[in-house]
């Protein structure tokens, strides 16, 4: 996927979800154990990408389940960003990337991220047309939201940012305003 001279790069960081219909935008992210979802509506020609990492349970909890609430939030945020640009949920198609387990000595959070993303799409009825998940290698993803084109490339593990789960942002957590 050759870069066009007028292309504007938009980096999607962990905890972000963005959508666009602008043919001059190329979204980019580097993934280790994180997962990126690329959604595309071919009729509205709107696409979007998120980048999430599930949080591990607190050490004092017996549960081994990862905290999926924040992943769910980022998925919904992505869907809503797309809807806001004229996409229809029924036309959305998904591609999933990332979820590597870079360090065999750590909990397989990449696998948990990948499983969450697959389950979310299945539950929501959004067809998954492609996945490049798990393994042990970092990936660089480039996504053109107006055309749905994706390029995925393996990169050196040190290229992937060392990321800790953001979890649910405490400052904005469930902000409640009663009128």
């Amino acid at each position: 996927m050759p870069a066009l001279p007028s292309m504007q790069r938009l980096t999607i960081l962990q905890g972000e979800a963005k959508a666009s219909a602008d043919p001059a935008i190329e979204m980019s992210t580097i993934l280790g154990s994180c997962v990126a979802t690329c959604l595309f509506d071919p009729v509205a020609r709107v696409g979007g990408m998120n980048h999430f990492l599930l949080a591990e349970p607190p050490a004092h909890q017996c549960s081994q389940k990862f905290d999926s609430d924040y992943g769910l939030f980022l998925m919904e945020l992505l869907v809503n960003e797309m809807l806001g640009l004229g996409a229809a949920r029924s036309r959305m198609r998904a591609r999933l990337y990332g979820g590597a387990n870079l360090n065999p000595d750590l909990a397989p959070i990449g696998t948990a991220n990948a499983a969450f993303a697959r389950e979310f799409l299945e539950r929501e009825g959004i067809p998954k047309v492609f996945e490049d998940l798990e393994g042990t290698l970092a990936r660089r993803i480039r996504f053109r939201p107006a055309t749905g084109q994706v390029s995925a490339r393996i990169v050196a593990p040190e290229t992937a940012p060392t990321q800790k789960p953001l979890g649910r942002p405490q400052s904005a957590l469930g902000t409640v305003e009663l009128f």
């Binding site: 609430d69 924040y70 769910l72 998925m75 919904e76 809503n80 469930g174 902000t175 409640v176 009128f179």
Partner: protein, 127 residues
């Protein structure tokens, strides 16, 4: 001495996302609420035509009838004019919050929600 059982607060959640409905159902039933669910504003309206709840929690972006439309239609009905309606949404724009307020929403909660804060808000708006 006979034990009395408090009647649970009845909540209708309106959200087109099965994942979010499952999350709300789990969080609210675990805290003693009786939960009914609708997939969009239209289904909520149809259900409310023959059923009652104490409080409604609605998303904004939904097919057929969105959260704004649902609030406006409920407020136009004498039956639901005073019914507490909380908006639970990923939307964070002040313009949309104001629109919900103008339509007659009782409160605005930004996702990702905290179950304890949501519970507190629910108890506050029905008393």
């Amino acid at each position: 001495m006979s034990a009395t059982t408090a009647t649970p607060i009845r909540v209708l959640t309106v959200d087109d996302s099965p994942s979010m409905r499952a999350l709300l159902l789990g969080a609210l039933t675990a805290r003693g609420f009786a939960v009914e669910q609708a997939e969009d504003g239209q289904q909520a309206l149809e259900w409310l035509a023959t059923n009652e709840v104490d409080v409604i929690i609605t998303d904004i972006n939904m097919p057929r009838l969105d959260g704004f439309g649902l609030i406006e239609k409920l407020r136009a009905s004498a039956l639901h004019a005073e019914r507490p309606i909380l908006v639970l949404t990923t939307e964070s724009s002040d313009e949309k919050k104001q629109r919900a307020r103008n339509a007659g929403a009782t409160g605005w909660i930004v996702k990702p929600f905290d179950a304890e804060k949501l519970t507190t808000a629910l108890r506050r708006v029905i008393h």
